[in-house]
């Protein structure tokens, strides 16, 4: 019995009467589920960032609250909740208050189409990828509005930089994903993962799907690299964290935000980090499929496809992103634009051609 079966057995027995009584509860479950994932992943990621950065910098990081300081983030969030609510007098009040949430909403929306495990997806759209790319661009608006509404020249500079950066790096992100669309012939996220699962070499009781992952094809590997770089720029992480460049712009678009509103921006940034890692995992690294065994017997089931592998892959990607953040310096805005326009976009266009050749030779993977 796979994981979904376990879950249904556990919860289904006492939830079934509730569903019969009020069928609309069934719609609430994925909502609560997604919000829980967003919140927990953000909390965990903040803790992870603090510990990883501490490790890189010969420090220790949070220690006291909880084992290995795990509860530190929760207490920090509580502290931010009780802080004074400051809105600058000359700021555009409505936009100022709404902007952080506009930045947060796309992160939540996008989690709905990420398959976490076999059958574990909140909204199994057959145009999931298209929905992903479209909705993902909405987060930019929140940042730009924050920069404008703060009535602060530093925030304005940060917001303008964000506008340029995030819009520019959408393009290589999209184009690299197009190669995957060509190779798999589908826009549905579950179908893309399914096409990467399944065996390619067999040695009973194992059949390893590793080589079927998209990152082991030429266009897929190039697309993965391009997407990951574009993703770093999309979530404002070093070396592309110009919009909130602390040493230059005080705090960029964040400058006038304090307390809970700032926490929402922070939450949005970390949710986005986990999100793009999740998207990269789904599109390039096989999603929830296991590299060891896809069809196994008895005790080997735990090594098989499932949420555990999704979490492991996302963790590896997130670790790499954090590693890069704490090692590299920041690029300047014109250098960042040069990287995008002269490097990533031509490469991603070329990658589309390579993908076309790949499809002609190998056929569409199904």
């Amino acid at each position: 019995m796979d994981e979904r079966g376990w879950l249904e057995a556990l919860i289904g027995s006492w939830m079934k009467p509730v569903y019969h009584a009020a069928p609309w509860v069934a719609y609430l479950v994925p909502v609560v589920w997604i919000l829980a994932i967003v919140a927990v992943s953000a909390l965990l990621l903040v803790w992870l960032e603090r510990k990883i950065s501490a490790d890189i910098q010969s420090r220790i990081g949070p220690l006291h609250h909880g084992p290995w300081g795990l509860f530190q983030t929760a207490f920090d969030a509580l502290k931010l909740l009780v802080k004074e609510d400051i809105v600058p007098r000359a700021a555009d009040r409505i936009v100022f208050c709404v902007a952080p949430f506009i930045a947060l909403v796309p992160a939540v929306l996008l989690y709905c189409v990420i398959p976490l495990g076999k059958g574990w997806i909140a909204a199994d759209l057959n145009v999931g990828l298209f929905y992903l790319l479209a909705t993902g661009s909405l987060g930019v608006i929140g940042v730009i509005l924050a920069g404008w509404a703060s009535n602060n020249k530093w925030s304005l500079l940060g917001g303008m930089r964000a506008a340029v950066q995030l819009i520019t790096y959408e393009i290589p992100g999209f184009l690299s994903v197009v190669a995957i669309i060509m190779m798999t012939g589908t826009l549905s996220m579950t179908a893309i993962v399914e096409s990467q699962a399944g065996g390619s070499w067999h040695l009973w009781p194992f059949s390893a799907p590793l080589l079927k992952w998209n990152c082991f094809t030429i266009p897929g590997a190039l697309a993965a690299a391009l997407y990951l770089v574009a993703a770093l720029a999309e979530v404002n992480r070093n070396p592309f964290d110009l919009p909130e460049a602390e040493s230059e712009l005080v705090s960029g678009f964040n400058t006038e935000y304090s307390g809970f509103r700032w926490a929402v921006f922070f939450l949005a940034e970390f949710s986005n980090t986990a999100l793009v890692a999740g998207i990269a995992t789904t599109l390039f690294f096989g999603g929830w499929s296991s590299p060891i065994v896809s069809r196994g017997a008895g005790v080997f089931t735990v090594l098989g496809d499932g949420v555990l592998w999704y979490i492991i892959k996302v963790s590896v990607l997130v670790y790499c992103m954090m590693w890069i953040k704490w090692t590299l310096p920041r690029v300047r805005i014109d250098q960042m634009l040069q990287v995008a326009w002269k490097g990533l976009i031509p490469l991603s266009l070329a990658n589309m051609a390579i993908a076309a050749v790949h499809v002609a030779l190998v056929g569409v993977a199904r």
Binding site: Q57, A245, S247, V250, T327, L328, P329, V331, I333
Partner: protein, 373 residues
């Protein structure tokens, strides 16, 4: 010309922006007023004086002995050299002899603090550019140096070690081995910084060719120290206007060619190596003897004029003293290196972007206590 300027179809607005005095990257209470078009600087002006304590007048009122501890606060990242310059001015005015051992101890202390100051520079420069990790590494290296000074003087930063006529205390037993160990460790870590940062493509793109200062400009402004040497001005007070026992040590003076941010960065990293060399030579040859000449209970400086200048971590720090026969200087002018170095870059910023302003300002390595006194 109005603030709105239409260039073809692109509308660009001018913005008058205030950077500081509270800002993460101005290295203290420095204020820049910048007129920017988009991200490019069109006009820049420095507003200084937020840390002005008028140390010169305080010295006139307090007298030599009581104003000497305050001198640490002028360049608080390299306090030994400030104290040394003031003591030098007093010694030259009054004709005080300094014992041999004290001169060698002064060299060791000054070079140790030069290393510490350059480590702070490297760390803050990295932070300005976004490489926060370099900051932590440099401060990890600097902690043992501050521990040494704590053992030697009881204080980590404002040491009050150099006194008129010598130094305050002799080395406690075991400290010279500790100094050797610390210096060895720091020197062994320098290649790591080169790997991670000096040879990093992104860092190079950020600092190579940015904010060049010509040698002629450096001389006209009186820029000194690594800023001048990075521009190619081959001048170091330790070699060219020797004080103390520096003429007995063998060391190189690193020079740059272009005077851009990268040169200023690499010159300082190389100076750390040279300081380590000097410290080892000084520890090897340290003579025996007393560490302080006994001064009269009321130390008076006769009439006359003297200038005591020392090569500090930031450049030439000099005390120009006019004596009048009393216990206090009649006039004490502090020639601070950061004051002149800061003036050099006031118009260097024009034409560069705001991100470069941070890089250029960081590479000059000013200390506001030094600029404002």
């Amino acid at each position: 010309m109005s603030a709105m300027d239409v260039i073809g179809d692109i509308h660009q607005e001018e913005m008058l922006i205030n950077m500081g005095p509270q800002h993460p990257s101005t290295h203290g209470v420095l204020r820049l007023v910048l007129r920017m078009r988009g991200e490019v600087i069109e006009e820049s002006r420095f507003v200084i004086g937020y840390l002005h304590r008028n140390h010169e007048k305080i010295s006139e009122q307090k007298g030599w002995i009581r104003a000497l501890p305050l001198t640490d606060r002028v360049d608080y990242l390299s306090p030994i050299t400030c104290e040394w310059a003031m003591a030098l001015a007093a010694e030259r005015l009054a004709g005080v002899e300094v014992p041999e051992r004290a001169e060698w101890l002064r060299v060791i202390a000054a070079e140790l603090y030069r290393i510490a100051s350059h480590l702070v520079f490297a760390g803050t420069f990295g932070t300005d550019l976004g490489a926060t990790t370099l900051f932590l590494y440099c401060f990890r290296e600097r902690e043992p140096i501050l521990d040494i000074f704590e053992k030697l003087t009881g204080q980590r930063m404002t040491c009050h070690y150099v006194r008129i006529g010598g130094v305050g205390w002799d080395l406690p037993p075991g400290l010279d081995d500790e100094i050797r160990r610390v210096v060895d460790v720091i020197e062994s870590r320098l290649p790591e910084y080169d790997d991670l940062f000096t040879n990093n493509r992104i860092l190079r793109a950020r600092v190579e060719g940015v904010g060049p200062v010509t040698a002629a400009k450096a001389r006209a402004f009186g820029a000194s120290g690594p800023v001048a040497r990075a521009s190619g001005v081959d001048f170091d007070l330790r070699r060219d206007d020797p004080y103390g026992v520096y003429s007995r040590f063998e060391f190189d003076i690193p020079l740059g060619q272009q005077g851009d941010c990268l040169d200023r960065f690499t010159v300082r990293l190389e100076e750390i190596r040279q300081s380590a060399r000097i410290i080892r030579q000084a520890l090897d040859g340290l003579p025996e003897g007393g560490v302080r000449t006994k001064l009269p209970a009321r130390f008076k400086t006769p009439e006359g004029v003297a200038y005591g200048a020392v090569e500090g971590a930031r450049g030439e720090i000099g005390y120009y003293a006019v004596g009048d026969g009393s216990e206090a200087p009649y006039r004490l002018k502090i020639r601070s290196p950061s004051f002149s170095n800061l003036a050099v870059i006031e118009d260097t910023l024009i034409g560069w972007k705001i991100a470069d302003v941070v890089a250029i300002l960081g590479s000059v390595d000013i200390v506001l206590g030094d600029v404002d006194r």
